[in-house]
Every structure is written in structure tokens, then in C-alpha cells.
Symmetry: C2
Subunit: 746 residues, 2 copies
């Protein structure tokens, strides 16, 4: 059996190159100066807090993960693999890899913050480059560890099992592990960061009247730790899951091609390209990101720090276009199309890739439009603040909901466009090559693969997005260090400018995260159908499984799905409220019991606040996470495997809408406040400002906890469904409502 | 051809009885004393304002309606009926009937308000009964006019066309007309009422510091008009649409049975029962409502005014159980089942009816739980207000989202339960009767009909719900009259108690409205599929049409659908914001330019405020309404008729979630404020109270404009789709993406 060829090996090799580059950057960061003693002290406190959270969070995840691993072994490995622990091992490796990437990202963020502040004492460029490289470490590690994990597992399992054909579906446990870790990381991190943030703001800024990031605020370290916990570890795990799911999903979809092509006599070494293409494209895409990252540099200190980041991103997109062009031609079009028109094959697949990259680019522009205060939406919120908090909130909700329109339409354009390309030209090629009615003249087959290529292309810039996203919390922390260590007005102002850019990149990364989650979910949905079809061996009809929503048994699955993101959001919003309450009480207690704090004569107990946030985040993350993990399984058992497909669609679509709404409302509220603070609509301290603060506080959990957790949700339900296919089939075979009625004598 | 039998005639007759009863109650109300001169003056102002709004709104609707009628004639009547204006006429009658019901309800509300206040000077019971009878007029008229319109049109058209079989699908224009009128009435009314409310509150209460309903407030009349415009005319049109859609949808589903049964040799006079059953059940259900309404009466003046309303509702539910039992047995089970077990047939259909009524009952209980301040959710919002407006908003959103869970699960239980009953026992009966493989041994056919019966049963209490809902704004206005006309503390307190009950009934009606809209939409979805299948004559495959969402062409329809309620809500929330701004400016202008107002020496210009609200409501309602009307048509033209089915489901499910969230968040915020005003968590004037006022103001457009408009949306898209079936088929036949590529030479 051929599971790989020469192309394949470039995937783990490029991944290793990226790991080496990440290590290089870590060492480079460590070589930078940490600045004054005050700065070092703060940095240490943030790092300690981060480590404390990681340690506790990872133990919790470990315990729950062990239970789930046990269930996986019993439910899947015993039935599907005769007791060989494929799923168990893949799951554990998935969890571990994702957590390692997140932990390293957080620690690097903590290591980088003061060094970026120190860099600002030399030049804006030094501060920017230092912070960006800290973020880049995350971007490189997340993508490369996912890629390494997948390629090693795929190769080892395929050889270990020695099945007749490659079996990418065997490593789906890895994607489930990544999803599982991501949910806990994103939700726990989101609760942590917002509990700390709200606590620090409400008691410190509002009640005690001390400025942001003031060292007298007991929650200040927890707040800074929170930035890394939520934005680094959280978003890192989110996108780790996206690319992992997309890779494995793409491989499962590719397997269908492999089977069709080899049955037509095509050489296995060529056919396998369709399976390994996602891995190879990911690896070379990562190399492009590495190259593009060299362009992050400020030539003049007066320049907008967003400019070099935008430049690097654009270069990355162009590079990705080239990489996709080369790989599609050499791996897919040329070897298949020699006699039957390789250019036609190349044309439509490359068109699909362009659509995916165009989507990535548009989503960023739209997110910017809805959350940047240069444009109409944020301005309208700021203006509405003049008539009070209520109109601020109403307008913000309206803006968030409105922001679903263009991303949704663009997702439709990308998916439909690529699908139609594939349907038409793939099928034309297929019938020329193997005759009408042959397997590979099926338009749907090609349509799905073209959509897969669009999804892969969109996700090929993930490394850069993550680097920009990871830059955000580092700049935020560095700003905190500048504030607390009192390093002078100039440095503070530089860091404020960098922090503002970080807010933009964080917002953009969320828009990208939501759109890519939607695409990854739809790809996993196809993978679910194809895998289910192969496993069920005709139980749900021959050929492609149909998900016919005129059947209420199936339709109700979609209704449960549509409900899930709402319930989950209700829980995550409620969790932040409860966790923040605990933090508020702790900060109030410290101010009350340690009177020296506010005079600056006594140090507050930072550790206690870190502890409060940690504990409540861990407590609150468990039930929503289990809800999301268990619901797909219950739907499968009660309504059947096909209803799970409808469930996935219901949850994905409702999740996309709610996710965009929460992310963009939150981002817009944030920047409406900043716009007013910049002096518009009454300026700082006005009634409008007070109203905008309310909006910002509402937006915080929306954009940093609930919204991003929905990204994870829509992928997690897919990986759960993929893993539990054997269980669903078992119940569909053995359980029937009619039998139940018969038994009851009705 | 047999289109009706003896049962049929009871439908228009019971409808006429209800109309006569409504006229009787109108005359009874007019006979009541209008009270002091001050009261009469206020009543006249409210009535004038209501009439002014109706006149203007109806002209706008008339103009747009005429355009749409023209389009319908060209697009549908010319192609489907060879130029005979069936759809045109049905549409116009639908619009007119719905508007008449709404207008009468509003005028009666205005006529009743002062009379209820005057009643309060005698006894609480007199006030309650007067206000309730005002609401009852709406309940009776809405249901009976819908029923009259449908039965007359159905009978006339069926005879006019003299087709071989009854043709309920010919009158779908009536349902579309009702949807169209409902959207404008609910959205326009919702914008009007909230613009007036927010304007009156923000400038009058907050800025000028005068109490609610103070005659010095220029917006006070507009505010009181708004109650009738939004809650009477709006909800009336909403439920007019629900029952109309449900009736016609049920008849279209019944037609499938008629065709199957007659092809098996069953007498047409019996088979037609399946078509006319919804009409007959609706008519007798209305009689039950009429009877149950006699039980609204307070025995002791100390009693909670909610008690008699709840009693009447429960009696209505029990009566509906009996009516359904009798009608199912005599019309459906006995004539069909004589030799093959009529009790089995009766049993499952009656079981389905019980599930529907149970759903109606549970939805009310759940809505009460989430919006009444005796329970945990509202208390948690009130408590969160202690830490400010932001936590109030977060908790309120969380509560609203959480409130989607149980209603959704209950909808699933009702639909799945009835469907499974139908599948099993109907199919058993069918194969005994006509052999395996015969048309009526198809389980899906019976399942769908059983779900239809559940939906009909749920909607059979609509008259009572509307009476309770219509009572709300009357009590609200009557409270306003008591406040403005200064009739003494006792009367004021009585009216406050009645008004509080009115808030509860309004909230319950919204919960019921959303759930019934969801069920009606799902029924119309089935009707769409069955009608499409008949019209398309095999274009989408033989037999039942499948809506297979694994096909991206269809799946993307669902994605557009999921987006629509979000965009629509963004627009409606934005509209309220803009309209309120205009009102705020007008009230401020009057205070500034007429200094005598606040001293009470000069009368404010009430008319100008009414005018401002009217104009902005009419301006703002047009674009969102057109969006919702055009989108299904575009989806059909671009993606095809089957994608429209997926679109409907996407919009319905996303709409259900968003609708429950907006309605229940709004209701909960409202009552959290009331709970604090009752002295809890700091009481009136505290910081918590200020925060709760913010929540209440956010909740106002959520629960009175956006949420209820979503009820209308989910039905409207169905009726649009049903009407435009010939257009979709035309495009599906004549347009093909491949041809386009060919033409472009690609």
C-alpha cells in the first residue's frame, strides 16, 4: 500500500523548519534586554500568574481528558479497531500538542512583554519587532505542531494498520483532541481574562478611581495574565483546531478521490496526492509565512505600526497564491491531466484557491470596517452613546447583527464558486478521462474537492494571522509594564500606539477565526458524510448519503443544532458574570482590609486575584464544555447518524451568525469607547463616555469569551461526530422506535 | 367535484357568530360611561392619534400592496391561471381583512381605555371586564375574519375554477396578503411604539424629571397610541397571519390525503374532510373561546386579576381538547376507520392534538418563568443591576438565550411525538386498509398530517391569547388615562394592578406568538414541498421532494436563511434608534420653545409628536419589509426551488432562537426593573435602578419591535415561497449555470 510519496515528506520537513525558526526566535527574545528592575518584577509576576493558570488548567483538562480517552477506547477502539488504541492515542496526542503550543505561546508572551517595552525605549521599530516575534512564535508553533502531529500519525497509523488503502479517518481522534483542548482553552481562558478584566475595571477604575494598569490594583496582574490566557492560548488553540480539522477533513475527502482514481487504474503514487495535498500545502504555506514575517519592520518611527503588519499579510497572501499555483499544478493537475487537459484541471482548482484567499482577504477588510473607528458603524455607536447606555447597546447589537451579512455572502461566494468550478470542469475532465457515468465524472465529487481547496487556501495564511493575533496581548502586556514600571511618557505613548494596533489585529483574527471555523466545519461535515457512507456500508442508502430535511427525524436534529450556540452562549456569558462577581468581591476585600494599598505603601496580593480568576474559570468551563461534547452524541443516539449531519449544519449556521454578531459588536463597542476617549462626542469623562464604558464592558465577554468559544464549538461538534460514527451506526442498527412501541404493547 | 360538505358550512357560520359577538361587545363598550371630561379629552386624543396613524400607515401599505399585487398578477396569475386574477384578488382580500381586523382592534382599544378607567371607579371587576372585552373584540375578529376569508375564497375559487379536485393552493395569495399586512403592521407599529416610548421616557422622565404618563409630556399621547399600534394591531396581524398560514397550509397538506383517498375509491365527501378539517376545527375552537371568555370575572375585589384570565385560558384549553376529540372522531376517524379500527385512528390523531395543546400550555408556563419576577431569571438580572448597567445587560442577554432551550425542546417533542404517532399508526391503518405499498400506507404522509393536527390544536386557543394580549394595551392606556386625568389614588392603584397583569399577558402572548409562528412555518414548509411537488410534475424527482443539504446549491439556501433574521433584526433595532432620535429631538424642542409646558400653563403639541412617530415608523418599515419579501424570491431564482425549502428552514430555526431571545430578554429586563421598583435590590432611585432602566430601554425594541417582527418574518417567507412556486419552476427549467459558462465560452 502506498500512503505517501516524495511530496509528503516535505510536510514534516517544513514543519520542522518552522519549529526550528520558532526556537530561534525564542532564543532571540531571551537575548533581548529585560529593562529596569521594576519591569523585571512585573514581568515575573505575569509569568508566574500565567504558569500558575496553565498548571491548574492543564490538570483539569488532563483529568477530564483521561475520562474521555477512556470512553473513546471503549466506544470506538474496541468496536472499530478490535481494541487497538488508535483513537485513544491520537486523541491524547491531539490534546497534548494543542496544549503545548498554547503553553509555549503564553510563556513566550510573558517573556516578551517587558522586552518589547524595553525595545520602545530604543525605538518604535524595536518594540514592534520584539512583540511581533513573540506572536510569530505562536503562529509558527501552532501550525507546525498540528502539521507534525498529523503527518506522523497518518504515516505511522497507515503503516501500523497495514490496511489496503490509506486511512486518514483513523487519526480523527487527533482532531477531536485538538477540539477538546481548544474548547477548554478558549472558554476557560475567555472566562479568566474577562473576570479579571471586569473585576479590575469595575472596582479599580470605576470605584477606586485609579487608572488602567495601575500597580495598586490587586487585579492588575490577573488582568495582564488574562490577555495571554485568552488571546494567546485561546486563539492559538482555536486555530490549531481549525487547521487540524481542515487538514484531516481534507484528507478524508481526498480518500474518496484516491479510491476512485486507483479503481480506474491510476498509479497509487499519483492518486495519493489527493490525500496528502492538504499537508503539503500547509507546510509550504508556513514557509511563505516565515518569509513574509521578515517584512515586519518600521522604517521611520512616525509610521503607523499597522502598515508593516498589513504589508507582511499581503505578501503572505501573494506568496500563498504562488505556492498553491505550483502545488496544484505539480501534484494534482499535471500528473492526472497529461492527456486530457491539465490546464483545465489546474484552472478550476487554482480558481478555487484564489476564491479562498480572496475570502480571507475580504473577511479582514469587513471586520476592519465594522470594528475600526474610522468607519460608519463604530461612529454610529459612539454617537448613540450621547443619548445614554441604552442607545449605545441597541446600536452595538444592531451593528453586530448587520456585520453577519457580507461575511456570510462571501462564504457563499467562495463555497459556491469553487463548487461550481469543480462540478463543471472536474466532471468534464472525468468523463473525458474515464467516460460518462464513471466514478470520477461525478460532479459532486469534484465540487466538494474544489471547495476543500478553497478552504485550504483560506487557512494557508493562518500562521501570519496568529502571529498578528499573538502580537496583540504582548503589546497589551507591554503597555501594562510601561504603565506600572513608570518608564516615562514617551515609551508609554509608543506602547499605546502599538497596543491600539494590537486591538485591531486581535479583532481581525477573530473575524478570520469565525470565517475559517465556518469553512472548516463545512469541510468536516463533508468528511463526516463520506466517512459515514464508507463505514455504514449501505445502511443509509447506496452512494453519497442524503440528508433530507423534509424528514422530521432529521430536521429536528437541525433544530437542536440551531439551539446549541444560543444555550452555550447563555452559559458562557453567565459564567463570566459569576466569575467577575467573585473577582469584584476579592478586589473590594483587599482595598478594605489592606488600607495601605491605595496610598501605595503596601503591595496588594496579586496572587490571590490570579487564584480567584483561575479557580472560577476552571469551575465554570466544565459544564458548557461537556454540554457541547455530549449533545452531538445524544443527537446521534436518539435521532440517528443522518440527523447528526443536520445537527451539524444547524449549529454551524446559527453559530456563524451568533459568532460574528458577538465578536463584531464587542469590537465595535470597544472602539466606540476609544473614539470617545480620543475626544469625539464629548470625550473622556462625558456622559457619552460613561455610556460607552457600559457598552465596552458588555462587549468584553461577547468578543473575548462567548464569540471565540463559538468558533471552537462549530468544529468540535464535527470532530465529535466523526469520532462517534461507529456508535451512531450501532444504535441505528439496533434501536428502532417501532420496536419500542411493540415492546410496550402499543 | 366535491369541495365541501355539511361540516364545512359550520366554519363560516361559527365565524359569523363570532363576528356578531364582537359587534355585540363593541356596542356594549360604547354603552359604558366614559367618565369625566378630562378622561374624555384624553381618550379622544388617543383615538385621534390612532386614527391618524392608521390612515397614514394604511395608505403606505396600500401603495406598496398595489405594486406587489401587480407583480403577483404578472408573475403568477398570467402563468399559472391564464390571466385569471386569483392570486391578485386573494392577496388584496388578505391584506384588507388583516388590516380591518387590526384597525377595529385599535379603535376599540381607544374606545375602551377611559371606560375601563371609569369602571375602576366602580370596582376592579368592572375595570377588568371592560378592558378584557375590548381585547376580546380583537381576539374574535382576528380569528373570525381570517376564517371567513379563507372559507369564502376556498369555496368560491374551487367552484369558479371548476378544477377536477379542490384547490386550496389557489387561495395562498390570501395568506401572503395576511403576511404582507402583518409585517408592515408589526414592524411599523413596533417602531412607532418604541420611538414614542423611548422619546417620552428619555426626555420626559430622565431629563425633565416628570413622571410616567404626565400630561405635560408632549410624547405622552404618542406613547399611548403606540401601545395600541404595536400590541393590538401588531400582535393581531401577527396571529392573523399565523392562523391563516396554518389553515391554508393544513388544507394544502390535506389535499394530498384527499388525492390518495379518492384514488382508493373513498367517497369524495369523506375525503374532503381532510382538507376542511382545519377550518372546522378553527371555527368550533372559536366558539369555545367565546364560552370561556364568560369566566373572566373577579369575584372579590382583592383577588389577583391574573387569576380569572388564567382560569378562562385553562377552560379554553380543556374545551379545545373536547372539540378536537369530537371533530377528529366524527370527521376523520369514524368515516375512514369503520372496518379497520377507527379507535386507532382516533387515538393517534387525538394524541397529536393533545401534544399541541400541551405545547401551548408549556410555552406559556416557560415564558412566565423567564419573564416573571417571582422566579430565578428575572431576579438574577435585578441582582446583577447592583454592579451596574453592563452586568444587567450581560445577564439579560444570557437569560434570553437560555430561554430558547425548553421551548425548542418542547417544539421538538410536539412535532416528533405527533409525527411518530402518525408514522406508526397511520401507516398501520393504511396498509390494513389498502395494502402495503399503497399511497396511504406511506408513514411520512400520516406523520405530516399528525404534526398538522398538533399545530392546529396549538393554534386553537389563539382567540383567547389575543383577547388577553389585547387587554394589555387597553389596561396600559387606561392606566395612562387614570394618571393624566387625575382620578384619584384608588383608581390609579387599581389600574396599576391591571396594567401589571397586562404586561404579563403581553409577554405570554409573545411567547405563544413565537412558538406558533415556528409551528406554522414548519407546516407551511410541508405545504410548500407538497405544492411544489404537484406543480413541478417530476422536475425535482418523483414522489416527495427531497431537500438534500449535502448539495451545496441547496445548503447555501439555508445559510442565507440563517442570516436573514439577524440582518432584519439589525435593521429593526437600527430603525427604532433612528426614530427615537427624531422623537427625542421633537420633545426637547417643545420643552425649549414652549416654556409654559413644564409649568403646566400651556398644552404641549401632542399631535406633532404623533406625527413624528408616524412618519418615521412608516419611513423605516419599508426597506426591512422589502428585504424579507424579496430575499426568498431571489433565493429561488438564483439557487432554485429546492434551495428555497432549505432557506425556509434556515430562517425559521435561526428566527426561532433570535425571537425567543429578544422577546424574553426584553420581558425579563422590564420586570427586573419593576422588581427593583418594588423595593428589592436597592429600590427606586438606587444605582441598581438606574442600571435596570438601561436594561429596560434596551429590552423595549427587542421585545416590542424586533422579536415580534421575527414571528412575522418566519411565516412571510413561507407564503412568499408558496406564491412564487411557478416563478421558481420557470427559472429552474430555463436557467442553468452550465449554459451560462457555455455562452461565455468557458
Amino acid at each position: 500500500m502506498v500512503v505517501a510519496n516524495g511530496y509528503f515528506w516535505t510536510a514534516p520537513i517544513t514543519a520542522l523548519v518552522a519549529v526550528i525558526a520558532a526556537v530561534y526566535y525564542i532564543r532571540w527574545i531571551h537575548r533581548q534586554d529585560r529593562g529596569t528592575e521594576a519591569m523585571i518584577k512585573i514581568q515575573n509576576a505575569v509569568k508566574e500568574g500565567s504558569l500558575a493558570f496553565i498548571k491548574r488548567q492543564y490538570s483539569t483538562i488532563g483529568i477530564i481528558g483521561a475520562v474521555i480517552a477512556g470512553i473513546l477506547f471503549l466506544a470506538i477502539d474496541l468496536t472499530r479497531y478490535g481494541g487497538k488504541p488508535y483513537t485513544l492515542i491520537a486523541f491524547l496526542i491531539g490534546v497534548t500538542t494543542s496544549l503545548i503550543a498554547g503553553a509555549v505561546a503564553m510563556i513566550v508572551a510573558a517573556d516578551t512583554n517587558a522586552r518589547s517595552t524595553e525595545g520602545a525605549r530604543r525605538s518604535k521599530n524595536d518594540a514592534l519587532v520584539t512583540a511581533f516575534r513573540g506572536g510569530l512564535v505562536m503562529g509558527l508553533l501552532v501550525v507546525s505542531l498540528s502539521l507534525l502531529g498529523i503527518s506522523v500519525l497518518y504515516f505511522v497509523y497507515s503503516n501500523w494498520r497495514s490496511t489496503a488503502v490509506p486511512a486518514p479517518q483513523d487519526i480523527i481522534g487527533f482532531a477531536f483532541g485538538a477540539s477538546f483542548a481548544a474548547l477548554f482553552a478558549q472558554l476557560g481562558g475567555g472566562i479568566y481574562t474577562k473576570a479579571a478584566d471586569v473585576g479590575a475595571d469595575l472596582v479599580g477604575k470605576v470605584e477606586a478611581g485609579i487608572p488602567e494598569d495601575d500597580p495598586r490594583n490587586p487585579a492588575v496582574i490577573a488582568d495582564n495574565v488574562g490577555d495571554a490566557v485568552g488571546d494567546c492560548a485561546g486563539r492559538g488553540a482555536d486555530l490549531f483546531e481549525s487547521i487540524t480539522g481542515e487538514n484531516i477533513g481534507g484528507m478524508i475527502v481526498g480518500l474518496t478521490f484516491y479510491l476512485s482514481l486507483t479503481s480506474l487504474g491510476i498509479n497509487e503514487k499519483v492518486a495519493v496526492n489527493f490525500i496528502i495535498f492538504p499537508l503539503v500545502a500547509r507546510g509550504w504555506g508556513l514557509m511563505v509565512t516565515l518569509l513574509a514575517s521578515f517584512f515586519v519592520r518600521l522604517d521611520e518611527s512616525e509610521e503607523d505600526p499597522m502598515t508593516p503588519l498589513r504589508k507582511a499579510y499581503n505578501i503572505n497572501v501573494i506568496g500563498a497564491v504562488i505556492v498553491f499555483g505550483i502545488l496544484i499544478y505539480t501534484m494534482l493537475a499535471r500528473p492526472l491531466g497529461d492527456q486530457y487537459g491539465s490546464m483545465a484541471l489546474f484552472g478550476f482548482m487554482f480558481g478555487a484557491a484564489l476564491l479562498g484567499l480572496f475570502l480571507a482577504w475580504v473577511i479582514m477588510a469587513i471586520t476592519d470596517y465594522y470594528t475600526n473607528y474610522h468607519y460608519r458603524p463604530v461612529k454610529s455607536i459612539a454617537e448613540a452613546s450621547k443619548t445614554g447606555a441604552a442607545t449605545n447597546i441597541i446600536t452595538g447589537l444592531s451593528v453586530g447583527m448587520e456585520s453577519t451579512a457580507i461575511p456570510t455572502l462571501m462564504i457563499i461566494v467562495a463555497i459556491m464558486g469553487s463548487f461550481i468550478f469543480g462540478e463543471r470542469y472536474g466532471a468534464l475532465y472525468g468523463s473525458k478521462f474515464a467516460g460518462e457515468g464513471s466514478l470520477i465524472s461525478n460532479p459532486v465529487l469534484w465540487g466538494v474537492y474544489a471547495s476543500t481547496i478553497a478552504t485550504m487556501a483560506m487557512l494557508s495564511v493562518t500562521g501570519m494571522i496568529l502571529a498578528m493575533d499573538g502580537y496583540g496581548p504582548i503589546a497589551d502586556q507591554a503597555g501594562g509594564v510601561a504603565e506600572m514600571a513608570d518608564v516615562g511618557e514617551d515609551v508609554r505613548r509608543t506602547m499605546e500606539a502599538l497596543d491600539a494596533v494590537g486591538n485591531t489585529t486581535k479583532a481581525l483574527a477573530k473575524g478570520y477565526g469565525m470565517a475559517s471555523a465556518g469553512l472548516a466545519a463545512l469541510l468536516l461535515f463533508q468528511a463526516y458524510l463520506e466517512d459515514l457512507s464508507r463505514e455504514a456500508k449501505g445502511l443509509y442508502g447506496e452512494g453519497h448519503i442524503e440528508v433530507n430535511i423534509t424528514n422530521p427525524h432529521i430536521l429536528m436534529g437541525a433544530l437542536v443544532g440551531a439551539m446549541l450556540p444560543f444555550i452555550f452562549t447563555a452559559m458562557s456569558l453567565g459564567a463570566v458574570g459569576r466569575a467577575a462577581k467573585g473577582m469584584i468581591e476579592e478586589v473590594r476585600r483587599q482595598f478594605r482590609e489592606i488600607p495601605g494599598i491605595l496610598e501605595g505603601t503596601e503591595d496588594p496580593d496579586y496572587g490571590k486575584c490570579v487564584d480567584v480568576s483561575t479557580k472560577s474559570a476552571l469551575r465554570e468551563m466544565i459544564i458548557p464544555s461537556l454540554l457541547v461534547t455530549i449533545t452531538p452524541v445524544l443527537v446521534g443516539i436518539i435521532f440517528g447518524a443522518v440527523a447528526v449531519a443536520a445537527f451539524i449544519i444547524g449549529a454551524t449556521f446559527s453559530g456563524i451568525m451568533l459568532g460574528f454578531t458577538l465578536n463584531n459588536s464587542g469590537g465595535a463597542w470597544d472602539n466606540a469607547k476609544k473614539l470617545i476617549e480620543a475626544g469625539q462626542f464629548g470625550g473622556k469623562g462625558s456622559e457619552a463616555h460613561k455610556a460607552a464604558v457600559v457598552g465596552d464592558t458588555v462587549g468584553d465577554p461577547a468578543k473575548d469569551t462567548s464569540g471565540p468559544s463559538i468558533h471552537v464549538l462549530v468544529k468540535l461538534i464535527n470532530t465529535v461526530a466523526l469520532v462517534f460514527i461507529p456508535v451512531f451506526i450501532y444504535f441505528d442498527k439496533s434501536f428502532n422506535i417501532s420496536d419500542l412501541f411493540d415492546k410496550l404493547g402499543l
